[in-house]
């Protein structure tokens, strides 16, 4: 057991400050464990969110030593022995209290995305999809909605970007991608991506991908293909003429959909 110094931001929407805590740390602990110990022993009313303690629910998102992280997945032995550990709320979202922020922005974005619209079932009442077609969709569906990508996105960090809803954010770009690439979905999602969800606002700095605790290829596998589909639809003159002349399909779809 060793004493460690924690600086934890305490306050509310009106303001606040870092408070110092000297606290015993046992081997094998993660930052969330230490915060719980602070809560039990020194600050009963320290506000923080958590649920699963295993990196599966995405509740305990915060900034630890300046980096957006899940407190439950940040091991104490990832710091040097005398390093001070600083915990503060996500910077992009308004503070409610201590380490808890108002993340309702994200739930509002999700609601803007039209729901999944599947094609009819096969004659025997089954849906058929092949594993190789759903692999890329399943990658996006690993998302635990910790909103670290939303937090680190520079478009959303900018308050105007959030308030004017110019960009739906990385989490919801891959949510749209998971629908757009879904072998059963029949909704055309490309015009909305461009006009409503601001796919052009992302300039591919890959900060979102870097912080994703699920290691989802947010930028390369999700956002870039979506941007490409927007470009193909709205800006590629050859494709536009091709579609007009030959009625080429608007969407690249999978084996199960094309019946190959």
């Amino acid at each position: 057991m060793a004493k460690r110094l924690f600086k934890v931001w305490r306050g509310n929407a009106e303001g606040g400050d870092f408070k110092e805590f000297q606290i015993d740390v046992d081997p094998g602990m993660v930052v969330l464990d230490v915060l719980h110990r602070i809560q039990a022993q020194q600050a009963n009313d320290l506000a923080l969110r958590w649920n699963c303690k295993a990196g599966k629910c995405g509740s305990c998102s915060m900034e630890i030593n300046g980096k957006p992280k899940l407190a439950c997945m940040t091991r104490m032995n990832s710091f040097t022995e005398d390093e001070t550990i600083t915990c503060q709320p996500l910077k992009t979202f308004p503070v409610m209290r201590d380490l808890v922020t108002d993340v309702s922005f994200n739930y509002e974005q999700n609601k803007r995305i039209p729901k999944f619209k599947p094609k009819p079932r096969d004659a025997d009442g089954q849906y058929r999809m092949y594993q190789e077609d759903v692999d890329r969709v399943q990658e996006f569906r690993k998302c635990i909605e910790c909103f670290l990508c939303q937090d680190v996105c520079h478009v959303l960090r900018d308050r105007d970007g959030r308030e004017q809803k110019t960009f739906i954010g990385p989490r919801f770009m891959i949510r749209v991608a998971s629908l757009e690439m879904h072998p059963l979905d029949t909704e055309d999602r490309i015009p909305e991506l461009k006009k409503e969800f601001g796919s052009g606002m992302c300039n591919i700095t890959r900060c979102c991908t870097e912080v994703c605790p699920e290691h989802i290829g947010i930028t390369d596998n999700g956002i870039i293909p979506m941007k490409e589909r927007v470009v193909d639809r709205f800006y590629d003159p050859v494709a536009i003429i091709g579609r007009k002349l030959f009625g080429i399909r608007k969407r690249t779809k999978s084996r199960s959909e094309t019946g190959e």
Partner: protein, 601 residues
């Protein structure tokens, strides 16, 4: 009003709003964070996509046998029959399950299930379930009230009239007036120190229903999942999916022995592999071979591990070894069990493709809970419904892995249908009584207003000690009696809890408020465990070994007496329909050849 936004709550809310009920959902956490996300292995549904010999009768039989015949017959029947449709419906709402070569929903093997039956998405099936319901539900006109905790059910005479709750964010109280309430609040694992459950699992629904006069049933059956992480201490209890064993993982003691072959009980011997060689043939897909003993039901495996550790053959941190590294190639492990790989890599610094895991039993699930009508899910209080883990009946004395996620969607829907039928038949609008509301608010705010008092965190730690010591995997009379005496003391102390600070997002106050639920739940489990003088499923009494032919005919019912004291009753269990009894007791060959149950639909 639905209380709880896990799989059962969301499915119930979708059923309600789909039938034009004005529907709201209260959840203690943010939407999509409920404990359902932790479910890994899959949801059991006899679709027969992988093995066409599977059907609802075999699933029903497996469920009854796993539950040691204490299950409510009708619930096990409804569950087995309706699960396939509920799973396919999720697909219609966007869920993307792993596929078979033919493009259908893939199904995997799991403990106690005769055929590959669990629809799954890698080892994150719970997340897929909750996200599919969430993304569908937000377009259904349901009002979601996030980070709101229910405190008390409001009644008008006998009937439900609403819910008193508080917003965690502001500490403000809020009254939801409604005609029906569906409880989907999960179990009460947080009464134990080693549990797979998150902080939300404080038995709120069980305690609120009890206070409102509803009956609880068979709450002594608390499942210890055999494989929780045992190290590091801070993650002790976090689940290691049964899928590891389903995909070939084996259990070893510190002598390197594969000990499960020494713990095959008589009941399961005819269907369990007798040799390592046979177990390996089964794993390779040989349909004539029998299942490895690692896939026995959870209670059997948990007791075996406990016995090995007690005999001094445990691992360094007090568990046993779960080895998949020496059995399955590294890339297959990473593909089939990605969450497990990351969980151990990042939380325990163990590479499960190279070394064995250390595992041990962890309190995982409540089979018992609020007594409900099988078809409508209504409790004994008019207008009060319950579904999912907080309801009793489907799982009997022990739950099979994979039967929980399917439970949520089958009975979540039935609870919604039940609430619709109740409201349609209701005359007049029940009115909540002001004095009930004001006295409940006073009790809650006293915790903040008191000058000094008991620290709720320390009280919770004491409760955990009591339950671990007295109401663990193996139980006996004197220890249970000591636990009851300690619980009585804790109840007195809980009268004077003090939480410093204001009511705005104050975890200390939240902790104090949930202690009330935990204490009711713990007392109910302990008193029921003392009454049931036999060992059945997840309930093991050292002083009453073995199943008793007498006790299978009885449920243990807990309710609040007229004097406010807890009453426990041994009540005859209703018999099953003859056809169901025949199917459950049939030899598997007779069932499959159609000698038994051929006319059952």
């Amino acid at each position: 009003m639905v209380i709880g936004a896990g799989g059962a709550g969301l499915r119930a809310a979708i059923a309600c709003s789909g039938q034009q009920l004005n529907t709201g959902v209260i959840s203690k956490s943010l939407l999509g964070k409920a404990h359902t996300v932790m479910a890994e292995g899959g949801m059991a549904a006899a679709m027969g996509n992988v093995d066409p010999r599977d059907n609802w009768k075999v699933h029903f039989r497996d469920t009854m046998r796993g539950g040691k015949f204490l299950n409510v017959w009708r619930m096990a029947e409804l569950h087995a029959k309706q699960a396939p449709d509920r799973v396919r419906e999720l697909e219609e709402w966007g869920a993307v399950f792993d596929r078979t070569k033919e493009g259908l929903i893939s199904q995997r093997n799991f403990g106690g299930h005769r055929y590959p039956r669990l629809a799954h998405v890698g080892d994150r099936t719970g997340l897929e379930l909750i996200r599919s319901l969430q993304d569908h539900g937000i377009h259904q006109g349901i009002d979601f009230h996030m980070e709101v905790t229910a405190l008390e059910l409001l009644k008008d005479g006998d009937r439900i009239a609403g819910v008193l709750a508080y917003r965690r964010e502001t500490g403000r109280f809020v009254v939801f007036k409604c005609k029906a309430v569906i409880l989907a609040t999960g179990g009460g694992g947080k009464a134990w120190p080693v549990t797979s459950n998150s902080w939300e699992y404080t038995g709120d629904g069980i305690a609120m229903a009890y206070d409102a006069g509803a009956e609880l049933m068979d709450v002594e059956f608390t499942q210890f999942h055999p494989t929780g992480m045992v190290w590091p201490l801070s993650v002790r209890g976090i689940l290691v999916t049964e899928g590891v064993r389903g995909d070939g993982g084996i259990l070893k003691n510190n002598k390197g022995e594969r000990f499960m072959f020494n713990y095959i009980s008589e009941r399961f011997a005819p269907e369990t592999a007798a040799t390592v060689e046979e177990a390996d043939r089964w794993l390779a897909g040989d349909k004539t071979a029998r299942r490895p003993p690692e896939l026995l039901t959870r209670d059997e495996v948990a007791r075996a591990i406990t016995a090995e550790v007690k005999a001094g053959r445990g691992s360094p941190h007090g568990g046993v070894f779960l080895d998949i590294a020496s059995r399955v190639p590294a890339d297959v492990i990473k593909r089939k069990l990605p969450s497990m790989y990351h969980q151990f890599k990042e939380l325990a610094e163990v590479d499960i493709t190279k070394e064995p895991m250390e595992v041990g039993p962890t309190l995982h699930y409540f089979m018992g809970g609020i007594r409900v009508d099988a078809d409508s899910q209504q409790t004994t209080v008019p207008g009060l419904f319950a579904c999912g883990e907080c309801a009793a009946g489907l799982h009997g004395a022990n739950r099979l892995g994979g039967n929980s996620l399917s439970d949520l969607i089958v009975f979540g829907k039935l609870a919604g249908d039940g609430a619709k039928a109740y409201i349609s038949a209701l005359s007049g609008s029940p009115k909540a009584q002001d004095d009930q509301i004001t006295s409940a608010i006073r009790r809650a705010t006293e915790i903040l207003n008191r000058e000094t008092g008991e620290n709720p965190y320390l009280l919770h730690a004491d409760l955990e000690k009591t339950m671990a010591k007295g109401v663990g995997i193996v139980r006996q009379k004197d220890e249970l009696e000591t636990a009851i005496a300690e619980l009585e003391e804790l109840k007195v102390k809980a009268q004077t809890m003090k939480a410093p600070g204001a009511s705005q997002y104050n975890p200390g106050w939240h902790e104090a408020l949930s202690m009330k639920s935990l204490l009711v739940t713990s007392e109910a489990v302990t008193r029921a465990a003392l009454m049931r003088e036999e060992s059945r499923g997840a309930h093991t009494r050292l002083d009453h070994p073995g199943e008793s032919a007498e006790w299978v005919k009885f449920n243990v019912i807990v309710k609040k007496g007229g004097d406010g004291k807890m009453e426990v009753e041994k009540r005859p269990k209703p018999e099953g329909a003859p056809q169901l009894v025949a199917i459950a007791n049939a030899k598997i060959e007779d069932l499959e050849s159609g000698k038994v149950g051929a006319d059952a639909t």
